[in-house]
Amino acid sequence: MNRRRLRDIPWAVLMLVPSAGLLAVWTIYPLVRAVDYGHKQCNRTLTECRDVGWGQFSRVFQSDQFQDALLVSVKFAVFTVPTGLVLGLALAMLADKHIRGIGVFRVIFSSTVATSVAVASLVWFVLLQPQIGVLADQLSGVFPSLKEPGWLNGNDTALPAVAISSVWAGLGFSFIVVTAALQSVPRELHESALVDGAGSFRRFWHVTLPMISPTLLFLMVVLTTRALQTYGEIALLTGGGPQTTKATTNIPYLIYGENSLIRNDIGLKSAAATLLFLLSGVFAAVQFRGFGKRVHYGS
């Protein structure tokens, strides 16, 4: 055994070096470097940096810009995650019947998985145009704000409008994931519940939901992480605006956006990126701890 361990070493090194090297340079190094820059102030060309101490992290965290961006990020998660989960589950339940032609509906329901961030965002950019967009044309009777000022230009409507685009784009993914979970629920469980006289609501509540709860938890964590890290939708739909209130400037946009107020400060951006990383971790951990106990990991 021991001789084999030693004999395998050259092979292991040879086979691990490509992945390990790439991950080290493009994943580990930037994380370490972001933490490092996070307590520095540098000039624009990064030739001169001086240490300003770890206090920069708390100063960034407490700054109005970061707090506003954090609030936007959290609001965005609140808008998109429950809606995405419920719609994904509803669509999957609706299509979870062996009836003729169900395959066509499944393809339709999963179709938005084919849209990229850029495609989905620009589709909604076109639809939401106040003068000539289809939605303003068809629905401005019900929602006058579609025309004046247009949802993407309104302080209260911009973030929900981005959220709608994002939920729509994520629908296909949620549908596929929940459908796969539903299909892994053993038929016998449903049949024995049926024999026991359980109605369809009780079968859903006591059989289906517990069986697919690990998948729903996974989906919730993924959707939350994605919501906190949303960048392309914001950049393409609103540019972090409306500019007067920065109503859609979330943390990623604060770091990467063209209109961000800290766009030229690598120290502040690094601190913000590190905080974003920590926040994503905290949110995921809280969800796993909070809901993990209620999730059924049966045999």
Partner: protein, 278 residues
């Protein structure tokens, strides 16, 4: 008889609901497609007709020329194919080491690999831009490709398959004088072909659709991918140009839609690999 009628009504109800939901899900795509296929003043008429009449490819054709979409598509294809091949290769190699080789600190190394999955691109892109800049890789293909060539998701997925290869198979192969290199390519890789298909599709889509990294590392016209190029068809405050985006969107979306319909099974396998146990 009554039970049959109830059953039939329920079935009809479900079909009706399925149809309504389908219309809602597809409406954004339909509306944009329609706008792309109508050109001239009609597409700005109020209230605009949602019926597919008087269709023409003029808008798509001018989007193609003005946006240089052929170049954008080729860039995206080149980058996505290169990254897909690269990820499959690096994943196979590392997965083999973790599944079939025995070496000191194996668990620690694997845990470190796994930990990289927790680091989101939104955190690393900031510094990776500086790295690419100092390598002279801004506005180059290697800048688009190299940072994505290793994926822990890929390593993990392939390792799962390799672990299911019976140990006797490896031992028998070793008795036949098959070394690690030959065993990897002639036994282990063919056995994992379905998973490699799913992984390949997944990586291809992810690379094709990527937005954040290309938007930072590419600033010139020559290396733009389709996702970045679409944005440049968008000129706010100029209503007459709006149709150009719709044309670009159709060109960008159609190949992926077709691909997904063909490879639906691989896609589902890839997307659900992490989600569903068993």
């Amino acid at each position: 008889m009554a039970a049959d009628a109830v059953h039939g009504a329920r079935k009809a109800g479900r079909y009706a609901l399925l149809a309504v939901v389908s219309v809602i899900v597809l409406f954004p795509i339909y509306a944009v497609l329609l706008q792309a296929l109508k050109s001239g003043p009609d597409s700005f008429d109020h209230p605009r007709s949602l019926l597919p009449v008087d269709l023409t490819f003029d808008t798509i054709r001018s989007a193609w020329t003005i946006g240089k979409l052929d170049r954008l598509l080729l860039n995206s294809l080149l980058v996505a194919v290169a990254v897909t091949c690269g990820v499959i290769l690096t994943s196979l190699l590392s997965a083999y080491a973790f599944a079939f080789l025995d070496f000191p600190l194996k668990k620690v190394v694997f845990a470190m690999f796994l930990a990289t999955m927790l680091v989101p691109a939104e955190v690393t892109v900031l510094i990776n831009y500086n790295t690419a800049d100092s390598l002279g890789w801004v506005n180059t293909y290697q800048g688009l490709i190299v940072p994505s060539l290793a994926s822990m998701f890929g390593v993990f997925l392939v390792r799962q398959v390799f672990l299911q290869v019976p140990g006797e198979l490896r031992e028998a192969a070793a008795l036949d004088g098959l070394g690690h290199w030959r065993f990897l390519w002639s036994v282990a890789t063919p056995l994992s072909r379905p998973t490699l298909g799913a992984l390949g599709l997944f990586v291809f889509l992810g690379t094709w659709n990527a937005y954040l990294w290309p938007s930072q590392v590419i600033t010139d016209e020559d290396h733009r991918t389709i996702q970045i190029g679409l944005e440049h068809l968008k000129t706010p405050n100029d209503i007459s140009k709006l149709n150009l985006i719709t044309g670009g969107l159709v060109v960008a979306a159609v190949p992926i839609f077709v691909m997904l319909v063909i490879f639906q099974r691989q896609l589902v396998r890839g997307l659900t690999a992490g989600a569903v146990k068993g």
